[in-house]
Symmetry: none
Subunit: 243 residues, 2 copies
């Protein structure tokens, strides 16, 4: 699985370079390239801001031009807030993640270009890309910064990895109560509540009991929950018995 290369073009603030490194490493991406960084390289502010993600900066390659930075890439995507009349396929961040995964699985290198903070990529740079990635931001406030844009792309790359949803794993590991335990809980409550006069008037008792049984079986009760509910009822009965 080849990782995509994230290419920062003419980045200005070291802080933003550092934040981009962090955003990449948050989702397991470590291959950065930098084209013509305004303040030279290495950049102290970038290193300071990258803290735990310094390895990304240490391994970054520095290039003079976009052409040089993408020369060994099999597929190039250019991120831009506003496609500017260039006839080129526009893909979502989600699709970009899928493309990066699919090419990576074939051992191919995907390069993803990010423009400088204010101006963005120039048309002459965008035309070198196979497709444009556009984040569907609020048209009234399309102000994503560099590190945020990197974060969303890295997030989508991670998401396209097809990792099993944590919720599924977690739920699969939960110790849910079996049907017999639920039935026993239903018996316990029905019996005690009958003694306590809960099912009143008599004419409504069958429906009330059905509703209660249904509730116990519908709720996703764990074994521990079932013990808690038994314990609550037993304690209330003890309280009564103590008078």
């Amino acid at each position: 699985m080849a990782e995509p290369v994230l290419i920062l073009v003419r980045p200005q603030m070291g802080e933003n370079i550092g934040a981009a490194a962090r955003a990449m490493w948050n989702f397991g991406l470590s291959r950065m390239r930098v084209v013509g960084p305004r303040d030279g390289w290495p950049n102290e502010r970038a290193v300071a801001l990258a803290s735990g993600a310094g390895r990304v900066l240490d391994a970054a390659g520095v290039f003079d031009t976009v052409a040089a930075a993408i020369a060994d890439c099999d597929m190039v995507l250019a991120t831009t807030a506003r496609p500017r009349g260039l006839t080129k396929e526009i893909v979502s961040p989600e699709r970009a993640g899928e493309i990066a995964r699919a090419f990576g699985a074939e051992g191919k290198r995907v390069g993803i270009l990010f423009g400088p903070e204010r101006a963005g990529l120039e048309n002459a740079e965008i035309v070198q890309a196979d497709a444009i990635v556009s984040v569907p931001v609020n048209p009234d406030f399309p102000s994503l910064n560099l590190a945020q844009c990197v974060l969303l792309i890295a997030y989508e790359w991670q998401r396209a990895g097809g990792a099993v949803e944590p919720s599924v794993m977690e739920m699969a590991g939960t110790d849910f109560a079996g049907a017999a335990e639920i039935a026993a809980l239903g018996d316990h409550y029905e019996g005690r509540l009958d003694e306590a006069g809960f099912f009143f008037p008599d004419s409504k008792a069958p429906g009330m009991k059905m509703t209660l049984r249904n509730m116990w079986s519908r709720l996703p009760l764990t074994r521990a929950d079932v013990q808690t509910f038994h314990g609550i009822l037993r304690q209330m009965v003890r309280w009564k018995d103590r008078g």
Copy 2:
């Protein structure tokens, strides 16, 4: 379409509050609430950083406690990097976006909790949520900051604007109990069970109470279920009182 409410709990740096406002507005979200902001409210640094997204701060509600901030919410999600041994459903940011859309389409209010910068949400706060949202970050570098976490949730809300799974719609159509109703149910049981001597020994009482609170908020209780549980407890007390 009701918008979800993003709730910042005890945020520290004004910069981060401002950046969170920007991240929300980037994806068209404007409803923020703040619980116990460290530096008071309004916060000048937040306003300065929010530039263009100041409207989000202007309209933000300020609350003393998480319970007060979520009282009118029909569904509550808690973002946390590391679920801490609480049995509660864990959903992905994508799923959180779908839930917020589906409930919003029914005119229901979804509250999403974000903890303070370093410490994150406390367990006593997490247990008040219906489910946990966990961003699947690099386990070697799980360092998302507040505004980044807000950005990803807002992005997923935006992305979920398309079709939403019918199963989620169905869930949103159920008359689930709101956070205030769940809190009141928790109060009722905790109070009566305390009188009944359920929380024994004293050293274990806080943990037992937390577990019970977590169970109430985790179970998908309908309004009718909540009434049933109140009724059960009232009846048991009446039974005791009759001697």
